[in-house]
C-alpha cells in the first residue's frame, strides 16, 4: 500500500544546527567580552593570567561603553 505525505517547509526555515552553533557563539563570546578576568588564559598561564587580565584590559573600553561592570 502506498502512502502519500505532504510536507510543508517554510522557505526561510533555518537548520537547528545553525541555531545551536549561534547559541554557543553567543555564550562563549559574551563570556570573553563581558566577564573574563583572566579565566581563559589561566588554562595556559595559570594564576599569572588573573594578574595580567589580558582580555579584560583589551576589552576594557568597550566594557565601560557597553555597560559591563569594570574596575
Amino acid at each position: 500500500m502506498s502512502e502519500t505525505r505532504q510536507i510543508n517547509v517554510s522557505k526561510n526555515s533555518v537548520p537547528k544546527l545553525a541555531l545551536i552553533a549561534l547559541g554557543l557563539i553567543f555564550v562563549a563570546g559574551l563570556f570573553l567580552v563581558g566577564f573574563d578576568q583572566g579565566h581563559v588564559f589561566s588554562l595556559v598561564y595559570g594564576e599569572q593570567a588573573f594578574t595580567d587580565s589580558f582580555l579584560h584590559e583589551l576589552t576594557h573600553d568597550m566594557r565601560h561603553a557597553a555597560g559591563f561592570p569594570c574596575h
Binding site: 549561534l22 553567543f26 573600553d61 557597553a66
Partner: protein
C-alpha cells in the same frame, strides 16, 4: 538554507554592526573615558604610586592606543555576540513579529531587545566610567548585571508565550504582567555596592554617551539584519 551560509551571514552582519558601534564609541564615549582615566592618573600622582614624568606619559599613550584598538576589536566581538542572539530569536519569531516586511520585523525586534536586554538593566545598573567601581566587587557586579539581563530577557519571552495563549483583546494583560514582574525584580535585586567619588557631571555625561552609542548599535543591528533577511527572501 545551508547552515554554514546562514551562520556566516549572521556573524558577518553582527561583526559589521559591531565595527560601526566601535567607530561611534571612538568619538562619543572615548573622550569621557580619557577624562576619567586622567582623574585616575591624578590620584596615582597624588598618592605617590606613579610619577608625573615624560616616561610615564609615553607608556600611558602607548597603552591607551592599544586599549582603543582593543575597543574596536571587542565591539566587533560584541556585535557577533548580540548578532547571534538576534539571529536566533529572529529566525524563531519572524512569522509572529508585527510588520509586513523583514526590515520592519527586524527593526521591531531590535527595539524589543534594546528595551529588554539593554534599557531595563541599564536603569538598574547604569554604565560607569573608570574611577567608579572597586576591584573586589567586580565579580559580584558583573554577575548581578548579567543576571538582570537574563531575567529581563527570559521574562519578556515568558510573558510573550503567555500572551499567545490569551485572546487578542486581553494580550495587554501579558504586557502589564511583564511590567509588574520586572518592577518587582528591579526592587528586589541588590544595588550596585560601590560608592561614586568621581564628579557626577562626568558620570552622567558618560552614561548619556554610553546609552546613545548602544542605542545606535541596536538600530544598526536591526537594520543590517533586516537587509540580510530581505536578500535571502529575494534569492528564494
Amino acid at each position: 538554507m545551508k547552515s554554514s551560509i546562514f551562520i556566516i551571514s549572521i556573524l558577518v552582519s553582527g561583526a559589521f554592526s559591531g565595527l560601526i558601534y566601535g567607530g561611534i564609541n571612538l568619538f562619543v564615549v572615548e573622550p569621557f573615558l580619557d577624562e576619567a582615566i586622567g582623574l585616575e592618573n591624578q590620584h596615582l600622582f597624588e598618592s605617590g604610586k606613579a610619577e608625573d614624568t615624560p616616561q610615564f606619559w609615553i607608556e600611558y599613550e602607548g597603552y591607551r592606543t592599544w586599549q582603543k584598538g582593543g575597543q574596536i576589536f571587542a565591539s566587533v566581538i560584541l556585535g557577533i555576540v548580540f548578532g547571534s542572539l538576534f539571529g536566533i530569536i529572529f529566525s524563531l519569531s519572524k512569522d509572529s513579529l508585527p510588520g509586513n516586511s523583514f526590515m520592519k520585523k527586524s527593526l521591531i525586534l531590535s527595539g524589543i531587545l534594546w528595551a529588554t536586554i539593554f534599557l531595563i538593566p541599564f536603569l538598574k545598573y547604569p554604565s560607569n566610567p573608570p574611577t567608579v567601581g572597586e576591584e573586589e566587587t567586580i565579580v559580584l557586579r558583573t554577575t548581578l548585571y548579567l543576571m538582570f539581563i537574563g531575567i529581563s530577557g527570559f521574562g519578556a519571552l515568558g510573558f510573550y508565550k503567555i500572551s499567545k495563549k490569551l485572546f487578542k483583546n486581553k494580550r495587554w494583560f501579558a504586557l502589564l504582567g511583564f511590567g509588574a514582574f520586572i518592577a518587582s525584580i528591579f526592587i528586589l535585586m541588590p544595588e550596585n555596592p560601590d560608592k561614586i567619588f568621581a564628579p557626577m557631571e562626568l558620570v552622567n555625561n558618560f552614561r548619556i554617551a554610553s546609552a546613545l552609542s548602544l542605542t545606535c548599535f541596536w538600530i544598526i543591528l536591526g537594520f543590517i539584519h533586516g537587509l540580510f533577511w530581505q536578500k535571502i527572501d529575494k534569492k528564494q
